[in-house]
Symmetry: C2
Subunit: 164 residues, 2 copies
DNA sequence: TATTGTTATACTCTATAACTATA
DNA sequence: TATAGTTATAGAGTATAACAATA
């Protein structure tokens, strides 16, 4: 009998759809009105496109952002790059191993602290990153194609004010 | 030498911060201006709060949305609920097993098709869902506390226009 | 003592192939 | 022949404890 009480969102109370369609679509209830749910669903779709975009270069999202940060932050330690990306240090090791093996990055033993590595891109790494940046730029244009520049800025601003 | 070319975002060209701080923060480059990156970072933070919110009921996010859909869609098959949630059918089985075991849901063999199950909530399931809906409502208010009602609607609208 | 990179490990989420029983 | 639920399995991503080398 009783549906769980609507403690959520001032329901827009969508009018009951015509009988034919009524049985086809599953009622998502308040889910579409939840910021968390909407953001997750959208993010999953965007991420899928992002992964597909980079896959032609054999890069995964975390690798792309790692290359970007290494390029922009010469002299930084492995642990600093990892932390900035929100990646646990242990999990960053295998990622660096693979990128080293592919000849995209190099780990130089620091001259001031022999415990740590200084990361840098190889020439191949820089070339690949440039191509990746182009592809990501296209991806960005693709996912925001229905939004104006102002709307994109608005979205970025709103996202920055969530969950802080 | 050459940083990877800025094919991305009309950089707001943040003025170089004072020398003291310059070394502390890792330069994220164009990442913060990428909708995908911003959305992922925000979503991770929101999801962490969501998981913590439901953990006191022993529910995980997918279980919450499953309970919600079962409650709202009496007579639906297991596979229909799973698909509406974007969960692979095989992965939904263990979830239903656990919720059945906890006495939150029941699987009734369909009278019209003996291959399929009709899902329903038990009284305990409905009670737990009601409490969960309250907690999620508080979570929603918490993550959007810096936004007006109009801004939340604006955000939902913008998200809906991404990656479709 | 504390930190850096590392190894080992475990847990969750997700994805696919293949089985069974029904249709 | 196709579909619903299931099993088994594999791959990401993520998290923590603990060790060796160094500070």
């Amino acid at each position: 009998m009783s549906r769980a009480r609507r403690a959520l969102a001032p329901s827009p109370d969508t009018p009951v759809p015509p009988a034919v369609e009524a049985d086809l679509r599953v009622d998502l209830g308040p889910l579409p009105n939840l910021v968390g749910y909407a953001m997750r669903r959208t993010q999953v779709a965007v991420f899928a496109d992002f992964i597909a975009t980079l896959s032609e270069l054999g890069l995964r999202p975390a690798q792309f952002s790692a290359l970007l940060l290494i390029d922009r932050n010469p002299g930084r330690k492995q642990s600093e790059i990892a932390e900035a990306l929100g990646i646990q240090r242990p999990n960053f090791v295998a990622m660096m191993d693979e990128m080293d093996r592919r000849g995209l990055t190099r780990r130089l033993t620091s001259e001031t602290d022999r415990r740590s590595y200084v990361l840098e891109l190889t020439e191949a790494g820089r070339t690949l990153l440039e191509r990746a940046v182009e592809l990501v730029s296209e991806h960005e244009a693709r996912i925001t194609r229905d939004l104006s520049r102002d709307e994109v800025d608005l979205l970025l601003g709103l996202l920055a004010r969530i969950a802080n």
